[in-house]
Amino acid sequence: MNAPGYFLTHLWLIPLFPLAGAVTMFFIGRHLPKSAVNFFCVGSVLLSFLHALGAVLSLFVLPPNQRFYQQILYQWVTPGPMPSAVGMVNFAADWGHLLDPLSCVMVIVVTGVGFLIHIYSMGYMAHEGGYYRFFGYMNLFMFSMLTLVLANNLVLLFVGWEGVGLCSYLLIGFYFLKKSASDAGKKAFMVNRIGDAGFLLGILLVSATFGTVRFTANGLANPAAFNGIVETLGRLVMQHQLNYGAPLFTTIALLLFVGAAGKSAQIPLYVWLPDAMEGPTPVSALIHAATMVTAGVYMVARMSAIYQLAPLAMDVVAIVGAATAIFAATMAVVQTDIKKVLAYSTVSQLGYMFLALGVGAFAAGIFHLMTHAFFKALLFLGAGSVIHSLGGEQDVRKMGALRYTIPATWITFWIGTVAIAGIPPFSGFFSKDEILGHAFNRAAMLDRYLFLWAVGLITAGLTALYMFRLLFEIFHGMSRIPVEAEGHIHESPKTMTVPLAILAFFSIVSGWLALPVLWGEESPFERFLEPSLHGVETDTGKIFFAHHGMLVELALMAASIAFALLGLWLARKLYVENPKLHARLAASWPRLHRLLLHKYYVDEIYDALFVNRVKDLSTALGLFDSKVIDGLGVDGSGWLTRAFSRISMWWDKWVVDGLVNLLGWVPKSLSMPVRMFQTGVFSTYAVFILIGLAVLLGYYGRHVQTFVRSLH
């Protein structure tokens, strides 16, 4: 193996650039002008994208089985003895990065789409307050997401996982003065906590079973000193300690899937994603469509070695994925908020990816993840451009005929719609066809997969229906824009339309990575991912795909195209040719329409079952607190103290003070007669003086008489 070049040895720089941007914003962002914020935050993502590109290219030139590069920056959890299913091991976890074909795809999608969305945000957020705060959070998100996808072990992946959850919460609640936005942020955070609890248990079970949380020893200079999950798993299976379908594998896989379902918005934990649309639109595009929500898909693919040995868990993943796909698609059909439609569409497409993972087509799932990142980011940014040009309007019922006023947005949105609807040669067709093809091939081995395939096919039709409906309602037909808003419509600035154009380009061409499938060859994308996903060899059980002839493959493609065109035709019929028809349709099935409009009342059911029960519990605990702790404990002791002090006060007042008062009262009463002489009026005192004089004269009268007689 050649010595790794600059880009591979400096892999750690990829997440570091956005972290530096985020730290800069945190400390001095408030004082920086917008141009400096752009320089730091958008520049950091550009640097990370270039480094990611360089690293991926330098990995790509290596032979397929050597496309692993792992670097350990720091031993984070230092080795310590721990009992596990493979005996006493030295458990350790690192702050280390692993670049293999799987993380290559993720890192390119995250930095590439992330960079375009950062550029777009410069235009979209130009008139918003908290500009530096927005970009600081976005850069922090980029750091967390890159840590997540580059992590070489589950614990570090969990750090990134929680980091993106935090940034998601912060950015959904970006307009935190708006109650609905801060509520949506809290909802996202709490629903994700449920999933994360399962994920954490899964990680603990993995470490207790394999004695390590590191994914693989591949790509290290000295692989023998390093326990990876894949190697340990291979040894366990080889020695028949644990076999295909062992309950332990199923438990681990299901626990990890709980986490994936939370992060990737699958039934029953999808409810937070539609509410997350309260955040700014670039956030919806980056976090809640292209990158963060696909972390669950990535994680399951990363753990594919375990999933391949747990058929029961695979079935659960596939069924949950298929159910989510069709369930969310039906809700998307009737929503009137442009971003809500796209949110349910995202949930539905994520369901597709899990369907792919569940039937064992891990590469197809990742392929759809990548194409979806391009076209869904494009659609969200296009929706953002529409909202921007209409001054904040999100209701599709108040749009229409916008193709004349904002043509650049229209063309790119149109490309995104065709791509997601699965019409060739746009990318969505290839990735969706891969998934449906694998489901069908699986069905040939096991009849029950036929149902999953059918659900996927119907969902493809529904996807085309709701996406074309959105396209037609916004850009075609008659304008329903209020007259006073009509004059302000303007095309978005270049910073917004250029990323749209680039994303549109990739929405077309990214599917061509699977072009050879058309003439019956293996998909190059799948071959590229194979080293990351091939799992472990086992003689006790395996996932089998049937191989059909060319004719069947083409028939499958024709079926999926037919369903997509059916959706297109229906949308055209209902929303362009006869705009009143869909209202009439809704009126003729009022109950179904209401059910869909209220999203199957799932939020209400969750409120009744969980949220309000938790609130009841809190109320009960609050009552306990106020009645027992405060009432009996605090108020009771207060009451006792008061009672005692009242007795003490009585004693003080009547006995102690009484004695003192008695001492004063005795001389006071004795002095009573004497006091009467003191009138305070000096005349009285003069009288007393005269009386005294008279008494003296009376007493000495004789002498006075003698004296006066003696005078002559």
Binding site: S683, A686, L690, L711, H712
Partner: protein
């Protein structure tokens, strides 16, 4: 030369009139004037006995008392003015701050 008894009678009369004024009048100004009468009764006594005994000491004493009376009147009137400013009264029976 007039017999001393006349002087003593005049002095006694002034003393009694003054004493009556001090005791019975409400207006403190009049009380002060009555005190002047009493002091002058003393002065008459002193001057009369000075003549009677042919000694000058009594007359010197009378001069002292006149000075004393002037000082007393000045201080007394000063107190009264200060008092009036506070209480707005010069009536003796309304002055009972010395009580108890």
């Amino acid at each position: 030369m007039m017999p001393i008894g006349h002087y003593l009678f005049l002095s006694l009369a002034l003393l009694l009139i003054g004493s009556f004024g001090v005791i019975a009048r409400r207006n403190v100004i009049i009380v002060l004037m009555s005190i002047e009468l009493i002091l002058n009764a003393v002065n008459i006594n002193l001057v009369a006995f000075s003549r009677y005994y042919g000694e000058v000491a009594g007359q010197v004493f009378a001069l002292f008392i006149i000075a004393d009376a002037a000082a007393e009147a000045a201080v007394g009137l000063g107190i009264m003015i200060a008092f009036f400013r506070n209480r707005e009264t010069v009536l003796a029976d309304e002055m009972d701050l010395l009580k108890w």
